[in-house]
Amino acid sequence: MELVVFIDIAIVLVIMFFVMKKYLNFLENVFRILLLEFIFTSYCAILSINFEVWKVDKAFHLYYCFALYEVMIVPIAMLIILNLLPFFKTLKKVMISLLGILVIYMMEFLMVQWGIITYQGWHAWQSVLSLLSLLIGVHTFSYLFSKLVIYEVKENQ
């Protein structure tokens, strides 16, 4: 049941990303998804393997739920939020970011409830703060990348 729910969430997010109106172009989206994948899988490895503050269940179907969460659900959900942000003004941007982070955290909450991961000296606020930092960090890096792409296009014209 858990695995089916996580697969469905991942599919819905992928469909949502492809049908939504995107502000960012293909290159910017590729840059963001690659960066998100790299940072978030590293973050999960540090928490679950190095510090062992997240204990991931060893059952295969539960481990796949966790893998889906770190490799697909969070990066795609973040990418959707980052594509939505440019359509709103400052205050609404903050609201959308916080709402998005809350929705992503709900997935993590679901994992904790279903015993996919167990917190060992870890707290919910730490996860929310980490997700927010990830969003801000990736947004900053991709802003710099967009500037570089614009500069290169202007230079070649």
């Binding site: 590729v30 690659l34 994948e37 790299f38 590293s42 490799v71 290169e152």
Partner: protein, 164 residues
């Protein structure tokens, strides 16, 4: 991230190759936009990171990178090294103008060379195989290098369209 317990041959191997490969990256004449280079390197590092993370996860534990089964700072440097390899792969591909069926030969040759390089790195304990075998790496490199070249071609096409 964890600092290695003992700074020995595998750490030196990664450091030396990191310097050599990035010297090659920076010293070769520029062939494509910096954004393309960044994307190709990031693509290789991320694909390497995700596949290593899934294959060397404690649930499967097919192999480990570096000394410990944990995520060390040198694991990260290994992924950065993958980025330089991918850059050189597409650089030579672009410079030689490899096209059509020659691409297949190019991918096969590069995959075999990658397996050879991995075998050398094995002797330096960069990788510690548990249930993994070198022959599996050949299949892995065939897929990854084909994907890298396809990714490079797609990005390059888009970049060319943008500047027109």
């Amino acid at each position: 991230m964890i600092w290695p317990e003992k700074f020995d041959q595998n750490e030196w191997f990664i450091l030396v190759f990191l310097i050599i490969m990035y010297a090659v990256v920076f010293l070769t004449p520029k062939r494509f936009p910096i954004s393309t280079s960044i994307l190709v390197m990031l693509f290789a590092a991320t694909v390497g990171r995700v596949s290593d993370h899934l294959l060397s996860a404690p649930q499967y534990n097919l192999y480990n990178i570096m000394d410990q089964g944990k995520y060390e700072i040198f694991d990260m440097l290994t992924y950065i090294l993958y980025g330089a390899f991918a850059y050189i792969l597409v650089y030579i591909y672009d410079k030689l103008g490899v096209r059509h069926m020659w691409t297949l030969l190019y991918i096969v040759v590069c995959s075999v060379l990658s397996v050879l390089f991995e075998s050398i790195s094995l002797t330096f304990d960069v990788f510690l195989y548990n249930k993994w075998k070198p022959i599996y790496s050949l299949s892995y490199y065939l897929v990854m290098e084909a994907m890298t070249i396809y990714f490079f071609n797609s990005v390059n096409k888009l970049q060319t369209k943008k500047t027109k």
